[in-house]
């Protein structure tokens, strides 16, 4: 479903964020991308949502070449991919429910659909009782849940999580990963970029290790070997 075909991203002579990366991701997979900072994890994710373009190679989403999508249709591509970030990226002036609803509004969904889906997805992430709280009234873990809810609400094919637990304590980290697991169980592909060893080793799913822009290992039940 997602295919990185010999992709490279080169910034200049000395720094190549990615080098000859070829990876395939199947639907409903749960994949952890591991590597230290600068290994290329974030770059890989950026290429998928076309926040950056590859210097070489092609990125495919369901057979469509991501680079060939027209600017004016780019937003449609992005709706199929839910994103979760280390810094949550929530709108501070909107409540949790409003933040999640916003994703649907941006996608042009009707008010009735929004009214129905938002509470449901907030319940899924365990925040049904904090719907009307504003980000500054939520803990770090709760904020990340809202971000996940927002990523989910448009029923994307895949969720990209870029270091989602980097700002969380161990307990919250565990909770978030459990949540992502649950979501994956419901049928969404999850690609998790992280440098947290514990997390990865606990999951025991596919692990793709990147180092200096290259894939150094790709194991089905991998462990994060530091």
């Amino acid at each position: 479903m997602i295919f990185f075909d010999n992709v490279s991203k080169i910034y200049n002579h000395h720094s190549a964020a990615l080098k000859n990366v070829t990876l395939r991701f199947q639907p409903k997979e749960f994949v952890s991308l591991v590597g230290s900072s600068g290994a290329g994890k974030t770059t890989l994710l950026k290429l998928l949502i076309r926040e950056e373009e590859p210097s070489e190679g092609t990125v495919f989403l369901d057979g469509t070449e991501v680079s060939s999508v027209l600017s004016k249709d780019l937003h449609r591509l992005r709706r199929r991919i839910g994103t979760v970030f280390q810094d949550y990226k929530l709108l501070p002036t909107k409540s949790a429910a409003e933040n999640v609803a916003f994703a649907m509004e941006a996608a042009g969904k009707l008010d009735e659909e929004i009214a129905e889906d938002v509470p449901q997805v907030l319940e899924l992430v365990g925040l049904a009782d904090k719907m009307d709280n504003f980000p500054h009234q939520l803990s770090a873990g709760e904020k990340q849940r809202v971000a996940i809810a927002r990523a989910l609400v448009n029923r994307p094919d895949v969720i990209l999580a870029d270091e989602p637990t980097a700002n969380l304590d161990p307990i919250n980290t565990r909770e978030i990963i459990k949540l992502l697991h649950k979501i994956n169980g419901l049928g969404t592909t999850v690609i998790l970029a992280t440098h947290d060893k514990e997390v990865v080793n606990a999951i025991e799913k596919r692990v793709v290790a990147l180092e200096r822009g290259e894939v150094v290992s790709d194991e089905e039940h991998g462990k994060y070997l530091a």
Binding site: K72, H75, A106
Partner: protein, 293 residues
Amino acid sequence: MRAGWLGLRRNAWLSTATIAIMALVLFVMGGLVFLGALSNTVLRSLESKIDISVYFTSDAPEQDILAVKHDVEVRPDVKEVSYVSRDAALASFRERHKENVLIVGALDELGDNPLQASINIKAADSSQYGAISDFLAEKKYPIVSKINYFENQEVINRLSSIVGTVRGAGALLTIFLAFVAVLVAFNTIRMAIYTVREEINIMRLVGASSWFIRGPFLITGLLYGGAAGALVTLAFFPLTWMIAPKLMILVPDFNLFRYFITNGLQFFLIMLAAGIALGVISSLIAVRRYLEV
């Protein structure tokens, strides 16, 4: 749509300042329009007042005067000639100044009629006065003491050229001001965009379409312009009403207020359209340059 209105409200002070500047621009434009109408009226009324007055010596016999009158009358470029005899001149002079004790007193003292007979010539077209006065000059009638024309024409020529210059300057000023207004609105919108750039980033991440992001800013620009247009039109109501009488002292033919009312709807629509155009153009430019959307 809602977002556009919110955008305006959120930066209340900034919005007020922007609308104020745009309103000022439209105000000046409106003022210039009035100025144009005023000048036209002044010119026209002056032109209609042009005439040639020929004064005759006190001892000129009436039939000689009438002969001159006839000579002029038969000319095709003359519309009408009226004759004011010495007595008639005196009578109307007395009438005009009957309140003025000094003048009445002086006249009585004199006893004799100090005024001269005259004929008043109106041409069919104001451009023909030159020819008529040349005619009179060449004829060199002995009984003609003075031809009162040349000064008027110069005044009118002067006035015409002044009006022309003023209108030219006015047009330039308008263009300059429109430019300023667009810049101001543009800058305001740009700042608004900057303020919410985090939100915009998130919007793009989440997959909002370009129009979803652009829309609110365009609406804000539109509202700015519309508000400015409406404001100016409303302001002109009391203003023209107040200024009209003062203006009428100078130029009796021109009632500013009536002019405003009769052209009122047209005025409002033009102001509104101009305001909105300014607003939307500024928004489009701001959004395109700054958003890369």
